[in-house]
């Protein structure tokens, strides 16, 4: 069953069309990787799906209900957001909160959960991402990889139906990428539904079951992951993969 689908999304920034009619469908348990060159509109797509940016046109279906992205109400936005998690490229942990508070903040403030229960969940989630020894650390005292794992724990605490990741490892030093990808791989194994913008080809290849290649605001090609890499159909896709592989070999 589709957790999320979007239809015909258009977005223009100051006369520059950035998304030109994007369709997407994500099923329960899917791990979908979005690949594409810089500026192709990947971040914009993710931000629109989570209402951080307003689409000029398009529809979104979540849990079987379809919304017009131009007219969706604040209430519906809040309701959908409460069932999704978002992991940013640069973590965006609350700087004035400890790791544990980062995870519990949304539960206590937005969901009015009592503090003890929230902390129980918070600790559980931090344990899950391997941060059990850092509950009381402020983000400024954590490495990038640790911050991103806390951010993932924060998203998990929402008990989301889907988590969006926008290049979760791009801001990390190379030696810290692995710890974050491992956490994501574990989530995938547990059946978490994820939409992941990434430049990590190995992740797209080995963890995701579906790959989407975007360029210039449109989806150029999409397919089952192994098929996508084994037999890319479009010239543009082949070219992109060749470029990326060349970069990895260096």
């Amino acid at each position: 069953m589709a957790v999320l689908s979007v239809n015909n999304i258009h977005k223009t920034f100051e006369d520059t069309p950035v998304l030109k009619g994007v369709d997407l469908e994500i099923n329960q348990g899917d791990v979908v990787a979005i690949l594409g060159p810089s500026g192709s509109g990947k971040t914009t797509l993710l931000r629109i799906i989570n209402f951080l940016e307003k689409a000029d046109q398009g529809e979104l279906t979540f849990d079987g209900t379809t919304y017009d992205l131009k007219t969706i109400s604040k209430k519906d936005i809040a309701r959908i957001r409460s069932k999704t998690g978002f992991v940013f490229q640069n973590f965006n942990l609350f700087k004035n909160k400890t790791a544990l508070e980062n995870v519990t903040e949304g539960l206590i403030v937005a969901r009015k959960m009592d503090k003890q229960e929230a902390e129980k969940i918070g600790k559980e989630m931090l344990d899950k991402v391997g941060m059990s020894d850092r509950y009381d650390y402020f983000p400024s005292k954590l490495s990038g990889g640790q911050q991103q794992r806390v951010a993932i724990a924060r998203a998990l605490a929402q008990s989301p139906e889907i988590i969006y990741f926008d290049e979760p490892t791009s801001a990390l030093d190379p030696e810290l990428i692995g710890e974050v990808l491992n956490v994501m791989r574990d989530l995938a194994k547990e059946g978490m539904t994820m939409l992941v913008v990434t430049h990590e080809i190995s992740f797209a290849h080995n963890v995701s079951n579906k790959v989407i290649f975007m360029e210039d605001g449109v989806i150029v090609e999409e397919g089952e992951s192994h098929e996508f890499f084994a037999n890319p159909k479009q010239d543009r896709t082949r070219e992109f993969l060749r470029l990326i592989e060349a970069r990895h070999d260096n």
Binding site: L52, R81, N92, F94, K95, E105, A110, Y137, F138, Q158
Partner: protein
């Protein structure tokens, strides 16, 4: 200096200091408290870009920053009675200092709010918080931390500015000094004495500022 001057200085020290404790400090604390409220509200209006209110705030800041504090004091205390508004000297001073300091601190607060990365707000939305919750729990605490040093400077500046209140008959430290001078005619010694007391006040506040900054650093970890 002869024994007479020392005697005067010693005698007047407590008389001036007591006014500092009874008038200067309460005037500063009250005015700064109200100034902070004004600053926070007006800064938030600007930050959130609230139409109309934002224009009013800009106008308020323009007027207050564009006219001398002393003139503002004189207008409120000596001018307003002309249109039937009569205020006691101390409340008049509190009102003027609050409004004046509020305008300057508003700009400090606005800059500090705007310095909080937009990602902090977006992350708040993504965990289901609403705008006011995000402002109150995430953005304002971070902005206050950024604004702490410049706001401390404003507070220290304000202690000294309260001396202007002597012009509207508030019996604060400078007024007291001038009264004593009129009696004993030792302007040099007495003006230096009151200056020294202001210096002590400012120095204590500077220490408190440093202590506060250290606390904040320890609490959140250095940036």
């Amino acid at each position: 200096m002869d024994a007479r001057v020392w005697g005067i200085l010693l005698d007047s020290f407590w008389k001036i200091l007591i006014k500092g404790i009874q008038v200067t400090i309460p005037l500063t604390v009250l005015s700064f408290f109200f100034a902070m409220i004004i600053a926070l509200v007006t800064a938030m209006i600007q930050y959130a870009n609230v139409p109309i209110l934002k224009q009013i705030v800009r106008f308020y800041i323009w007027i207050i920053r564009g006219t001398p504090l002393l003139v503002q004091l004189l207008v409120v205390y000596f001018g307003l009675p002309n249109i039937g508004v009569r205020l006691e000297a101390f409340p008049a001073a509190v009102i003027v200092f609050s409004i004046n300091e509020g305008a300057y601190c508003s700009e400090t607060m606005r800059a500090a709010l705007e310095a909080v990365p937009v990602g902090q707000v977006e992350a708040g939305y993504c965990v289901g918080m609403n705008y006011l919750q995000i402002m109150w729990r995430i953005v304002i605490p971070q902005a206050l931390r950024t604004a702490f040093p410049p706001l401390s400077n404003s507070l220290i500046g304000m202690v000294k500015d309260t001396s202007l209140a002597s012009n509207i008959t508030v019996a604060e430290m400078l007024m007291q000094t001038q009264r004593i001078i009129a009696r004993v005619y030792e302007p040099m010694a007495l003006y230096l004495e009151v200056a020294l007391i202001y210096l002590v006040f400012s120095t204590i506040l500077t220490w408190l500022q440093r202590y506060g900054e250290k606390k904040l650093n320890a609490y959140e970890g250095s940036k």
